[in-house]
């Protein structure tokens, strides 16, 4: 089924991943292989665990991992602090980006860029170099240049917040981008701009895991693979056609398939 060259090592390898939120088991054994250059869409009904999966990979402290393994470039990252994973190249575009009153967006970004560079044994970026790079990225993802002078997400509209996430992704150049329902709450124009940004950042060097409830965004960002998550497990995997099938038949169809299998 894989469309990429056989033998190339996976960027991300998830085996039997289980995780809980409080007393509730949400991920019940996830297996997934992602190679550089691939876009994987994770779809599923509400409560299936798809956002949890993205957040557990990023190391959100609200969840407890109870089993399994996650290798990122061959290294087990489950014990690493979220900031270490981030510096290694794991990026989470938040479903609900946080407001940081008084913290200028460019300062926030520069702190992220510098943390990553220092982690890689490089010098912090000079103010001038950063300024030029940021200007270029702002133009690339078509974001209002004033947004980076304002406080992070403070008073931003829903669409602006999501675009700001894409800008952060562009600036931080992750190897693995986890987009957590980036399409939620966007009107069609904003969806197009956000999708254009993501497509521009897509390359043979990085991979994207796109978590979404709706097939809509897949009209703009075409995935190599689509996985259907249901009750904490991946119950179906396929190509882009699977998303269309879901769109036509609805999630009840998946429920029926799973229930029939039991």
């Amino acid at each position: 089924m894989s469309t990429t060259a056989k033998g190339s090592k996976p960027l991300l390898s998830i085996k039997g991943l289980k995780a809980m939120a409080g007393d509730l088991e949400i991920l019940k054994g996830i297996d997934l292989q992602v190679k550089a250059g691939e876009v994987h869409a994770i779809m599923g009904p509400n409560g299936s665990g798809k956002s949890t999966l993205a957040n557990v990979l990023a190391g959100r402290p609200d969840y407890t991992v109870t089993g399994g393994q996650v290798l990122f470039e061959g290294q087990d990252i489950l014990k690493l602090e979220p900031e270490i994973r981030a510096r290694m190249g794991v990026f989470l575009a938040f479903q609900y980006p946080l407001e940081l009153p008084g913290v200028r967006a460019w300062q926030f970004l520069k702190a992220g860029v510098d943390a990553k560079r220092v982690h890689n044994g490089e010098e912090e970026m000079s103010a001038r170099e950063f300024d030029q790079m940021l200007k270029a990225k702002v133009a690339e993802v078509q974001i209002d240049p004033d947004l980076v002078k304002r406080a992070v997400n403070e008073g931003f509209s829903g669409g602006e917040k999501k675009r700001n996430e894409v800008l952060q992704m562009a600036v931080l150049e992750p190897k693995l981008a986890l987009l957590d329902e980036t399409d939620s709450g966007l009107d069609i124009d904003a969806l197009r701009i956000v999708s254009d940004g993501v497509n521009m950042l897509r390359s043979s060097e990085n991979a994207i895991i796109l978590v979404t409830h709706y097939q809509r965004i897949l009209n703009y960002i075409s995935p190599n693979f689509v996985h259907v998550l249901y009750d904490g497990r991946i119950v179906q995997s396929g190509g882009p056609e699977l998303a269309h099938e879901l769109e036509e038949k609805g999630y009840d169809w998946i429920k029926d398939v799973v229930d029939a299998a039991v």
Binding site: A58, G59, R60, P61, D62, E81, P82, E83, A86, R87, F91, L92, F94, P97, L98, L100, P101, G102, V103, R104, Q107, F108, L109, A111, G112, V113, A115, K116, H119, A151, V152, Q168, L172
Partner: protein, 485 residues
């Protein structure tokens, strides 16, 4: 005017590991009076300074008034401390050598200490444009830039020197804004004040450089009672900065200062403070009791602006105030008060509107970490004469951790129906989600806290001269050590 460089202290990450990096002591000989307070001590202080008779009389009046107040130290503030034994304090401690004529004559130990502090005393700082009056314990040790200032007719010197060289000015204005009987600590200060800064800006002069005084308590068990008097004549302008440190001592030290600002018609005084007195150790032992009275009088069209960043002291009790006396006068108060470990701060301002169309702005940011307790206490008073007065007040509290406290106590008295007052207040916590958001972009938990807290203070730091703002930001970082991460 080039942007003056104020302090060149470099807080590197390795320095940040130290608990209180300004906590070294200087090994210099001190000229100490006996412990305790009496009429004889007041006379001794006055005699040491060769003061004129009127000043001695003023001190004695204050001392006698203080005796009457002795059992009435204010108890309304939201702070707790054991009773202070005023007979167990040195009231006069000056470095022993006589006043130096130039930097070459300054005790090398003192210079080395200032080096550690990063105070710009040396010639190189001439380029940077700061005149520094450094007060160790009670006496002024060095004043730079005198000549530059003299060209403009600006007087910037120790107040003890001003008493000798400009007695008329001192006599006219000393106690004119904070009278000797004003409050318990101000009265004590009036009786025993030892030194401090004196600034006089002549009519129409815009002071070309930032003036700065650096205060430091060195002697153990000594009190510091400095007195600062700033007079801005009509249509003049001055920006004045003060920095404060004290060595780490096991016992508490008392600091009871008085600052008086006189802003005559159409003048402007901008007064910035970085207060970093020793806050005590992690368990609340030692630290400075910072009981300070600061007040400015603004005449017609005058403006007084207080900006303070309070990170030090075991206890801070301080309400820099403005009497908006003249029509159209403006008062501002911008404050960041941070408490960590067992620190307590009860601080705020008083804006007393007398003149017509007077405007005041209060922006107070309190940060509580560890087991610290921060209280904003403020008074906005609109007198019947203050038609068209306006006030805007914003009090924000930020909590770090779950053992700290934040309190807001605003008093509002309005006696004129045309006044307009606005009050906004908020209390927030650094949320786990905000921290995770920062971490997900590569920042450590500690850096994330620091960034969020800096953002919270941004509006205040913007009011500070640039280099001072950098310094303030570093101070916050050092002061938050151990509270986060």
């Amino acid at each position: 005017m080039t942007t003056p460089k104020v302090i060149s202290r470099n807080a590197t990450s390795s320095e940040l590991d130290s608990e209180y990096k300004w906590g070294f002591t200087m090994d210099i000989e001190s000229d100490l009076s006996p412990k305790g307070l009496s009429e004889d001590i007041v006379r001794l202080i006055s005699a040491k300074k060769k003061e004129p008779e009127w000043l001695l009389e003023w001190r004695l009046k204050a001392y006698r008034h203080w005796l009457k107040l002795k059992q009435q130290a204010p108890t309304w503030a939201n702070v707790e401390h054991p009773p202070i034994d005023y007979q167990d304090i040195y009231y006069y401690a000056a470095p022993k050598s006589d006043a130096p004529k130039s930097l070459d004559e300054v005790d090398p130990e003192i210079l080395a200490a200032f080096d550690k502090l990063g105070i710009p005393l040396q010639e190189r700082e001439r380029l940077a444009g700061v005149a520094v009056d450094a007060v160790v314990d009670s006496a002024s040790v060095a004043t730079t830039y005198k000549e530059t200032l003299e060209k403009h007719g600006i007087i910037f010197c120790p107040i003890s020197e001003a008493v000798q060289s400009h007695p008329d000015l001192v006599q006219k204005y000393l106690g004119s804004v904070v009278p000797f009987g004003d409050n318990f600590y101000a009265t004590l200060n009036s009786a025993v004040f030892s030194d401090g800064s004196f600034v006089y800006i002549p009519k129409g002069v815009r002071c070309p450089i930032e003036l700065m005084t650096y205060f430091r308590i060195n002697q153990a068990d000594s009190g510091q009672f400095e007195r600062t008097l700033i007079i801005a004549e009509e249509s003049s302008y001055v920006s004045y900065l003060e920095g404060c440190t004290a060595p780490a001592r096991k016992t508490h030290q008392l600091h009871a200062a008085v600052v008086e600002l006189v802003a005559l018609n159409d003048s402007e005084i901008k007064y910035s403070t970085l207060q970093n007195w020793f806050p005590g150790d992690k368990d609340g032992n030692g630290g400075v009791y910072n009981f300070v009275t600061k007040r400015g009088l603004a005449r017609k069209n005058a403006k007084i602006s207080w900006t303070q960043v309070e990170t030090g002291s075991a206890i801070t009790w301080k309400y820099p105030s403005v009497i908006l006396d003249g029509d159209n006068s403006v008062g501002e108060f911008y404050s960041v008060a941070l408490v960590n470990n067992h620190q307590q701060a009860d601080t705020g301002t008083k804006m007393i509107h007398k003149g017509k169309n007077t405007h005041s702005t209060i922006v107070a940011k309190g940060i509580s970490a560890g087991e610290g307790n921060a209280t904003y206490r403020g008074l906005v008073k609109i007198l019947p004469s203050a038609a068209g007065a306006k006030n805007f007040t914003q009090c924000d509290s930020l909590l770090v951790g779950d053992k700290c406290g934040a309190h807001t106590v605003p008093y509002i008295e309005v006696k004129n129906p045309t006044a307009q007052l606005e009050h906004e207040a908020s209390t927030s916590k650094v949320s786990d989600d905000q921290l995770f958001y920062c971490q997900q972009r590569g920042m450590s938990v500690e850096d994330a806290h620091f960034m969020i807290i800096n953002g919270f203070c941004r509006g205040i730091f913007q009011e500070l001269p640039f280099e001072f703002a950098m310094e303030a930001s570093q101070l916050l970082k050092v002061s938050l050590e151990g509270a986060v991460g």
